[in-house]
Symmetry: D2
Subunit: 360 residues, 4 copies
């Protein structure tokens, strides 16, 4: 066994997010996979739950307990929404806790209560390093935009972002941060692979139902990721931003394609828009802004930690259209967790994270 610096446990390892965390951690040169735990699946051979993780096939899922998790340097919580807050409260302060659930993402207790129905568990540093957190100027040279990354270096609690908010927030934040977009006319329609809906046994998620078919869900502004997107865009804009968001289910196991549009302020040009996105992302290793006229495909980011996006101004109607592609399980969940782990422990931010997708 090669010595590895950081021992990482994965709680909720039987689900899709947990499995993806394990896949990435196995490929991370400074990480040793520690305990893999679950609730109802405890006692099961990992090879029966995640047969694709062949190097871990003979591991057995342990029961999730704070004591077991506390024996590690870091823990990825891949639990159902609402389940991580209570567990996290029992974990040591110096243990890095990467919560893939929603429990600690929202700053506004009212938004939390409205969309999740339970009591607010408090807010943790938000695990989206590339997100602009304040307005910036594209004309003042040299001034790098403020970003969320600063709050993550050395952190020991991280609220890993939701899968939809990742691509959508990164797709639109530069325009808001640069003051180019109206805050009250954002419309987003996104298509997600079925792994985004989890591994629960629901009739509408059967292969026979989803293959060859597209369908919407959570229509009418009721999807729980809506306030998270608004929080991110409002932070970038420095003023409240509202969003119409419609998610759809696509016949593919992984991937999100988010079509994000907003009304541009009067007089804004295509060149100004591209300049703002360039300013925001030119140095970001995990964001690819495609050349004009090129558009992303979800296949190109499968298993990759990259968000790829293309941008156009529809002058006829005065809207910018940004289409972003990501892997909902990688950059949309587990990859972001590993990226934050790197930041938290002072490692190179890109360590162990793929920037190539598995295509075709």
């Amino acid at each position: 066994m090669v010595y590895r610096v950081i021992r990482v446990a994965v709680a909720g390892a039987s689900g899709y997010a947990g499995g993806e965390a394990l896949r990435l951690l196995l490929g991370h040169p400074e990480v040793e996979v520690g305990a893999v735990t679950a609730a109802s699946s405890a006692g099961t051979r990992l090879g029966d739950v995640h047969p694709h993780l062949m190097p871990l096939a003979e591991r057995v899922l342990a029961e999730t307990t704070p004591e077991l998790l506390a024996e590690h340097d870091a823990v990825v919580l891949a639990l159902p929404h609402g389940a991580s807050a209570a567990l996290a409260a029992q974990l040591p302060d110096d243990l890095l806790v990467l919560d893939c659930g929603a429990d600690h993402r929202l700053a506004d207790p009212v938004a939390w209560k409205t969309f999740y129905g339970s009591e607010h568990a408090g807010t943790w540093p938000y695990g989206m390093p590339e997100l602009p957190t304040a307005p910036f100027s594209t004309t003042t040279s040299g001034a790098a935009p403020d970003k969320q990354r600063a709050a993550l270096v050395g952190a020991r609690r991280v609220a890993v972002p939701g899968c939809y908010p990742t691509g959508i927030s990164l797709a639109l934040a530069p325009g808001f941060a640069a003051g180019l977009l109206e805050p009250d006319d954002v419309v987003v329609v996104a298509a997600s692979g079925t792994s985004g809906a989890g591994k629960g046994l629901k009739p509408n998620l059967l292969g026979s139902e989803v293959m060859g078919s597209m369908s919407p869900y959570g229509v009418g502004g009721v999807h729980r990721h809506t306030p998270e997107i608004e929080q991110n865009l409002s932070g970038a804009a420095g003023e409240p931003v509202t969003v119409s968001f419609t998610p759809t289910l696509a016949p593919m196991p992984r991937g999100i394609l988010a079509t994000c549009t907003a009304t541009v302020r009067a007089g804004v040009t295509a060149a100004q828009l591209r300049e703002a996105w360039n300013t925001a992302y030119t140095d970001e290793p995990f964001i690819t802004l495609l050349p004009e006229g090129s558009w992303p495909r979800t296949a190109d980011v499968l298993g990759s930690n990259v968000v790829a996006m293309g941008l156009a101004l529809d002058e006829r109607v005065g809207r910018v259209v940004v289409v972003a592609a990501e892997d909902n399980l990688t950059k949309g969940t587990a990859g972001a967790a590993v990226q934050c782990l790197n930041l938290a422990f002072g490692l190179p931010e890109t360590l162990g994270l793929p920037t190539t997708g598995l295509a075709p």
Copy 2:
């Protein structure tokens, strides 16, 4: 051979639209399939081109000539955009010509020139019977809305609608006809199966490229169906309507799911919206307005001539969201052609047209 009343030729029978026309015509009790013609595929056994049309397997594709087509009662033109106008000009006036191409859809020569680049070929009756063609009141009882159907009864020239405009126009027209929607803030994102892109050999349409992947195209308001959608909605509204439209390619062979949103006028309620859609479609055999909280899936309309739609008001942002599902080849093309054939010849409008989808 059972006697059949109407002999119908299909020109451009080697493509997907032509194949679907043949599939539907084979199941039509009053139709006899006449000549099946093509350009470069002339001379080919139909069984080699459309192996699913087994009753026609031994037919051979003839060359498309006006003389051959003229021997029929009706002809479906399933030709590339721009190819049907010249051919149609050589066909007898009393032959029913159902043009699945775009050539005769747009009333505005400038819009045609802008989006298609060639000279305008004139406008034919538009083959969308259910489309409201003027504002209507939901409160004056008994007054059935004016619809496009009136122009199709007995027609001998029909411009069959585009696949995207079908679902999108029908999804939003009631709201415009009832005066409930703002005309300048429509945003539509639609996902289409790959058959919508035709049978041409393009690298991005290979199975290896499209399976498991979503991607956008024609982003930024440049898709050719945009002016057709605007024309339809403007007719219903009685004032100019503009649309932001982004199409995407989904990993499925057939089907369109269109997420259509528009800002509602101040004070408009969910009940008013539902009332308007009910008024427009209560008697329409090929439009299914799903109950509140139910949403359509493309699988449920595969091979069916139905557009299924669900509707919600997002009160937080003041937008109505209507999601519509259709089969791009059936109601989106060939089914509409057959529906118009029924109207043109005075047959029951639903004759030979499936209202069940092939699911799962």
Copy 3:
């Protein structure tokens, strides 16, 4: 309401086989859909269970009782294996009972017990009209092969065949009936769409698990359809035939592709083989023997009652290879039931049954 001759109930209407039966019955010109019944889903709106059956959306699933079923002319039993025998025993003798389950297919009580584990419920006429039931000669002109059809005309009890046995038996039976194949070296590998596994909530049937993936199951001769296939082929051969059968799950909702191979007897030529298949199927409306060098695709028989097959002799190894495609829910289940209903009531055998597939 148009008058319809035959009232048909569907028991087990909430599953995939039941749904397909309803889809076909809706399109049958002499049938009126009667009661739709279920067990745990009783009380549910049919539109919530089978949204693709729009004309029946407002029907409510009734509880399955013999009294209710007895009010009809015919009943399709689409129940789990082992559930139909007890119910059928309570139904009137003059009610046509079409059992889509396995309960009454096998003649050999030992084979039943070995593969199904319960007591044998007796044998009903087997619903595969095209199956040769005895050896035939391809050289004695004029002598039409004996077929299973004879046992179905006027029948009131029918054991509808299993989905795999349908394509596989029809693929190989002519060779056995004509005495061209060795009885002890049949190898079949078949790929099925996921609807063949039913609507039960199993983790391995989730869309995330099946999309983009092939996997085997029931490997090693343990699949329950094995004795049914052997029974059919033995009947055609006039001697016991054994079969190595491996089923696999394919990433598609419908369809079976069965690759069926057998060692040919010494000296058998490709021409003899083709002659035997021609002799068996030349007049069969639901069997398409493709020309030499052409091979079937499952897409071409989607929703169709046709089995399409291609045939080749591999002279290097002395095996015939027949590849057959069918829709597991149509010809593989519900279509066969309707075909038998036609035979039982003296209607044209093809009435209401599609012979075109839904492609692309």
Copy 4:
């Protein structure tokens, strides 16, 4: 730029095999990607051809010339069959040439001529390290089987195996090497993802044609991989082995599932079979023999260099059934090339090669 030891060029980089080679080489810690070359695509930006290879997006495809390739330590030839021999003849002897084409795989010139139609170009060391090359005993403890690996250490010419022969040969070779199987009754049916058919623009490879559909091709023993499989199994058996092989196309971009059956010699038990496979593969890092009753899925090896297999004895018919899953582009092509590169240069055999698949 980090210093990297080995500079590797990829010729034919625009195809799927070339793209996969680049994906793996990018993740290899001792490799620097050198020239990327093509024929008709020369001059194209790599980002337009393989958008998933984001780190190489701005590279431009060069024209394939021997001079350019000769500047490297190794070259991967991912060219059409028949194109690599002429090019390879112009390359220096000390340059490692990894030929993903078929040109140098077959030892028998007659078999080459029969299946490929051109002149035989000679035979290179065959790049399947795990393949037993001679009969072995499972009872004599300590005697490790002879394997192909020996011929690859330090090699400078490697014939990378075909995608089908990889999984199929490895699935059956242990049984032949251990003397447990009859040599004249092997039947294999395999399902491949569409990338196995390459990137050529053929109508039957369009997404609309392949999604939701299974179809066979090369039926009747005519597929070019047949003699390669027979060569491999004959080597293991020490006597001529013949194979009936039928390939099918599955609706997925990647992956092969091969169902491989053979008649066992009289008296062979399930325990003997498992022992033989264990003897052959217990130390192989890229072969996973699943526990009894477990079966592989192609999704579990996507992007991985592993062949996973399950094994059962069907005692009723006296056949062993081994089902093997692989990624046709990884272990089936480019991964094998990188594995051989590691062996050729004396690196750890597993360096840079994933053993986890991308699931779900």
